[in-house]
Subunit: 250 residues, 2 copies
DNA sequence: TAGATTGTTAATCGATTAACAATC
DNA sequence: TAGATTGTTAATCGATTAACAATC
C-alpha cells in the first residue's frame, strides 16, 4: 500500500516484481524453500514432472499451460499457479521451457539430493518396493531391508540385504539414514516406528494401516490403501444403487 | 424461509427435522446413497471404521466424538460432521453406539456388497495385493489374476489362478466382474485398461503411474506412489535445507 | 438440575477459477 | 500490429471450525 505513492503508473503486481528485485532476488528459483505450497498443488507436481519427461523424450522443448492442462485434465490457470510455486517463469506467447521446468520441479521437490532409506518388512509389498527401480528417478534409494523373520534375515532381495531388525537403530545414524519405510503387518508397525525413532529417522513412509504414535518432529506419511479403496467402492456401490433409489422416489 | 411463519418458536434446525419427517424419511440411514460427501470426509471414514473395530474388540460399546477425535488427531466437530454423512444419529451425553456406527459406515461405503475384482499384473505388487486377506473385510475380493508372461500364466498365486490376459474381456462379463486392478508396468497399463473396458469393467484401481484414457463413465482411481513420495521428500528436503536458508538470510 | 454431548448454523479459511493487464 | 500466452488480482467455491441451542 505504501508503495503506491512511489510509482503510481505501474500496476500492483509489476510493483511487486520491482520490490522483489530491489531485494536482489531477481530469480525466485533461487529460494524455493522459502515458499509454502498447498497440499493439492504439491501432489500435482509429480504429474507435471512425469508428463514433461515424456515431452522431452519426444524432443519437444517448449510447452504452454493450455497444452499441459489439456493432456492432464486441468484448467490452464491452475497449471500456471502450480508451476509458479516452483519459481519457474515462462515467456508470454511461447510458454515454458520443458527442460527448465523439469529442473525446477526436481529442485523444488528435493529430488536432486537423493534420500537414502531403510525399509522394514520384507514381505510381498516390501519386495515390490525394493524392486522398484523407478524410485531412484524420484530421489529415493532404498539401501537395505530389515525383518524379524529368521528365514528372511541374511537373504538378498533385489540386490539388497535383509538384516535383522535389531540392527536398525544402530545402523541408521552410522549411515546417516533419515527416511524409513514400513511395509510390515499392522500389528508390529508401531514397534518398528519406535525403533526407527530410536535410530534418529526423521521421516516415515508408512504402508501399514495404523496411526503411528511418534514424537511431533517426525514426518509421517500414511499410504493407506483402504482410504483409497473406500472412495472407489463407494462410487461403484452408488452406481449400482442408483436404480433402486429412483424406484423409491417413484 | 417460508417455513418460519409456520412455527416460529422452533429454532431453524428443529424445523428442518420436522420437514424431513414430513416427507416420511425419519431415518436418514435408509437413503445414504442420496447424499453427497466431500472427498476428504469420504477418505476419513475408513479411519473411523478401523478405529471403531478396535474399540469393539475391546468390548467398548459407546463412544463420543471427542474420544474419537482425540485418538485420531481430529477436532470433535469434524468427526461429528463426517459421521453425519453416514446418516447415523448419536445420543447427547452418551455419544454413539460403536456397533451401529460400524454398521452405518460399512453400509455407506458399500462394504456389505462384496466387490469381486480382476487383477492384471502378477508381479511383486500384484502378488502383494493378491495376498492381502484384509481386503475382504473392506468388501473387496480379488477372484483371479491375469498376466501376459507365459511363465506366470497357469501358475497359482495366493490360491488365485493366473490367467492369460486375452481371456479377461471374455470372462469379465460372464462372471459379472465390475472392478479391475492394474498392477502392471506403466508401459502396458493403457492396453490393459482398454481390455478391461472391452470386458465391461466399470471401475479401475490403477497402481501404474500413468493417466489412463478411458470412456467418461468409467471410474478410475490412481494410486500414485510418486505423488505421495513427492510431498514426503519435499518436507524432508526442506527440513535439511533450513540451516542453509538461514545462513543466506544473514 | 447440571454437565456433557449432539446437531445445526454461520463464520472462517484455503484452494480454485474468472477476469484482465502485461508481454512477446 | 494482432494474437497468444503469461502473471496477477479478485471473486467464487468448498471444507473446516467456531458458536450455540437442544437433548439426555
Amino acid at each position: 500500500m505504501t508503495a503506491v505513492t512511489v510509482c503510481k503508473t505501474i500496476p500492483p503486481y509489476t510493483r511487486y516484481m520491482v520490490i522483489d528485485m530491489d531485494l536482489s532476488n531477481p530469480l525466485p528459483l533461487s529460494r524455493p524453500e522459502a515458499r509454502s505450497i498447498p497440499q493439492p498443488s504439491l501432489q500435482r507436481l509429480p504429474q507435471y514432472h512425469h508428463y514433461l519427461v515424456e515431452l522431452e523424450a519426444k524432443r519437444i522443448s517448449r510447452v504452454s499451460c493450455s497444452a499441459i492442462g489439456q493432456d492432464l485434465g486441468l484448467v490452464p490457470v491452475q497449471v500456471r499457479k502450480d508451476l509458479q510455486y516452483t519459481g519457474i517463469i515462462g515467456k508470454p506467447k511461447t510458454g515454458y521451457s520443458v527442460s527448465e521446468l523439469i529442473q525446477a520441479i526436481e529442485t523444488f521437490l528435493g529430488w536432486n539430493n537423493i534420500n537414502e532409506a531403510f525399509l522394514v518388512g520384507a514381505g510381498n509389498l516390501g519386495t515390490a518396493l525394493l524392486g522398484h527401480e523407478r524410485f531412484s528417478k524420484f530421489g529415493l534409494r532404498i539401501v537395505a531391508a530389515f525383518d524379524t523373520d529368521p528365514a528372511k534375515v541374511g537373504q538378498w532381495v533385489h540386490e539388497k540385504a535383509v538384516l535383522s531388525l535389531d540392527k536398525l537403530a544402530d545402523l541408521a545414524p552410522r549411515m546417516s539414514i533419515h527416511l524409513g519405510i514400513i511395509t510390515t503387518p499392522a500389528e508390529v508397525a508401531q514397534a518398528v516406528a519406535d525403533e526407527m525413532v530410536k535410530g534418529g529417522i526423521q521421516a516415515i513412509w508408512n504402508f501399514a494401516p495404523v496411526k503411528l504414535k511418534v514424537p511431533e518432529h517426525i514426518i509421517v506419511h500414511n499410504e493407506d490403501l483402504y482410504n483409497s479403496l473406500a472412495s472407489l467402492s463407494w462410487k461403484l456401490a452408488r452406481r449400482f444403487r442408483v436404480p433402486i433409489q429412483v424406484k423409491e422416489a417413484v
